[in-house]
């Protein structure tokens, strides 16, 4: 049997994921995090008179800390599997993948375990993030 024919049998029998529902959940949760972040930043800016760049820094620290601690407690993976990309695309996803990778190799020691594995999933975010940032900055320099 050819693969195409087989694929037809497979598709007939499996349950497809509800992509629209998943996208909607991700959109709402992602948006909610954005909203809460904005509220946090506005409060810091107006009540504590902080400069805007510092407000964003504290927001990042807060999100990263919350998601790392919840990952460590073993709750965050279940929240992520419900919220999907709503929590993976914000910086919470970055912290979550880093912490989970580090926890995985905890027993192998500080150097060979945690140290060499912590960026297993997030390495590509750092590598391509920095590369793209470099080229965007270059572009900005040329245009302006």
């Amino acid at each position: 049997m050819k693969l195409k024919e087989y694929q037809k049998i497979v598709n007939k029998n499996i349950k497809q994921e509800n992509k629209i529902f998943n996208a909607l959940i991700s959109f709402l949760i992602g948006g909610l995090i954005g909203l809460l972040g904005q509220v946090f930043v506005t409060i810091l800016e107006n009540k504590f008179y902080m400069p805007l760049s510092e407000c964003y820094m504290y927001l990042m620290i807060l999100l990263v800390t919350i998601s790392s601690v919840l990952t460590g407690l073993g709750i965050f993976d279940e929240i992520v599997s419900f919220c999907k990309c709503g929590l993976i695309i914000p910086t919470t996803g970055f912290a979550h993948s880093m912490t989970s990778a580090a926890m995985d190799n905890n027993e192998e020691g500080l150097i060979k375990g945690i140290g060499s594995n912590i960026f297993k999933l997030t390495g590509s975010i750092i590598l391509y993030g920095i590369t793209i940032a470099f080229f965007l900055a270059l572009l900005k320099g040329v245009i302006m």
Binding site: I14, F76, S100
Partner: protein
């Protein structure tokens, strides 16, 4: 290739269930409700499950290590670590096997060959651990990877069985060694679909070699195709091999409660088939059972370089004498 056995019997077995996130609706000999089982890592914990199950079967039959001629085992870990680590605790000659989720049927097959040659007592063992498989084949354990409905859940546990050449009420009648089949399917999330062609080929070969029709068996118990995989198998058998009848049950699809199947496609792993066989199927009134273990022989690397999934399946024909 099909082999017939004259004096291969299963004498006793020991089933051990580790922690599973979902409700398991079978009765086992022992439950260990901790992923770590007081060991320093989950890999070693899996080995301790195996040690427990081997000791369990020895105790059930009042045998000593020196009474056992060969220990045959395998699991899903890299370099079948759990089996090697459990075998070092026993002074029994050891054969380690890897055949992914069909490891248990392959062990039974080799064990039956040896007992047929006149070896007295053989223990076959296997184990699987959910967290180890998640870590090794998918994402880090605590990473909230998106579980699809077609994903299966690797069961945690270990099963050991004692094979002998003296007559008991479970006879291993024949066995078919399967081919590695790859029709180009490459979705690692849908392992049931990846393994189905191999299972179908082995069932067809077995029936062909033994000149039997599919009705000869009261039950054809497949390993871990899952609730969707078993339907794919039935459709595929119809289209490709013109096999329309037969009573098929998938061990993975009945290991967990039925309401679990809304979230996942059932259980998997090398222990899934023997757990269901020994704790459920053998207690019901089936006389002729065809075990079809299915294994998907991929790795993380093969998936990353976009290779399709090779799959294997071995069949064991059991006769229960009551």
């Amino acid at each position: 290739m099909t082999l017939k056995f004259k004096k291969s019997y299963i004498k006793n077995y020991f089933t051990l269930l580790g922690r599973n996130e979902y409700n398991v609706n079978i009765k086992v000999d022992k439950k260990l409700e901790d992923y770590y089982n007081f060991e320093k890592s989950i890999e070693i914990a899996e080995a301790s499950f195996q040690i427990n199950s081997i000791k369990g079967v020895l105790k059930k039959e009042n045998l000593k290590e020196k009474d056992i001629n060969v220990l045959i085992g395998g699991d899903l870990q890299n370099q079948i670590l759990a089996s090697n680590f459990s075998a070092r605790k026993f002074s029994i000659p050891f054969l380690g096997l890897y055949s992914a989720c069909s490891t248990f049927t392959e062990s039974l097959l080799i064990g039956a060959m040896l007992t047929n040659m006149g070896v007295d007592n053989i223990i076959v063992t296997t184990s699987s651990h959910n967290l180890v498989s998640e870590k090794q084949f998918r994402f880090p354990i605590e990473y909230g990877s998106l579980k699809k409905k077609i994903n299966t859940f690797t069961s945690t546990g270990s099963v050991s069985a004692l094979l002998t050449n003296q007559k008991t009420n479970i006879k291993i009648e024949s066995a078919t060694i399967g081919n590695v089949i790859d029709i180009g399917y490459s979705d690692v999330n849908n392992m049931g679909a990846a393994m189905t062609p191999a299972a179908a080929k082995t069932i067809y070969d077995h029936l062909n070699d033994t000149n039997r029709s599919v009705d000869y068996y009261d039950l054809i118990l497949t390993g871990d195709l899952g609730i969707y995989g078993i339907n794919i198998l039935k459709d595929y058998l119809k289209k490709e091999y013109k096999i329309t009848k037969g009573n098929f049950i998938d061990a993975g699809s009945i290991l967990y409660d039925t309401n679990v199947t809304k979230k996942i496609a059932g259980g998997s792993g090398p222990t899934c088939l023997p757990l269901v066989l020994f704790s459920k199927i053998l207690k019901q009134n089936y006389k002729k059972i065809l075990l079809v273990g299915t294994g998907s022989l991929h790795s993380k690397l093969s998936a990353n370089i976009n290779e399709s999934i090779p799959a294997i399946s071995h069949a064991i024909s059991l006769e229960v004498i009551k």
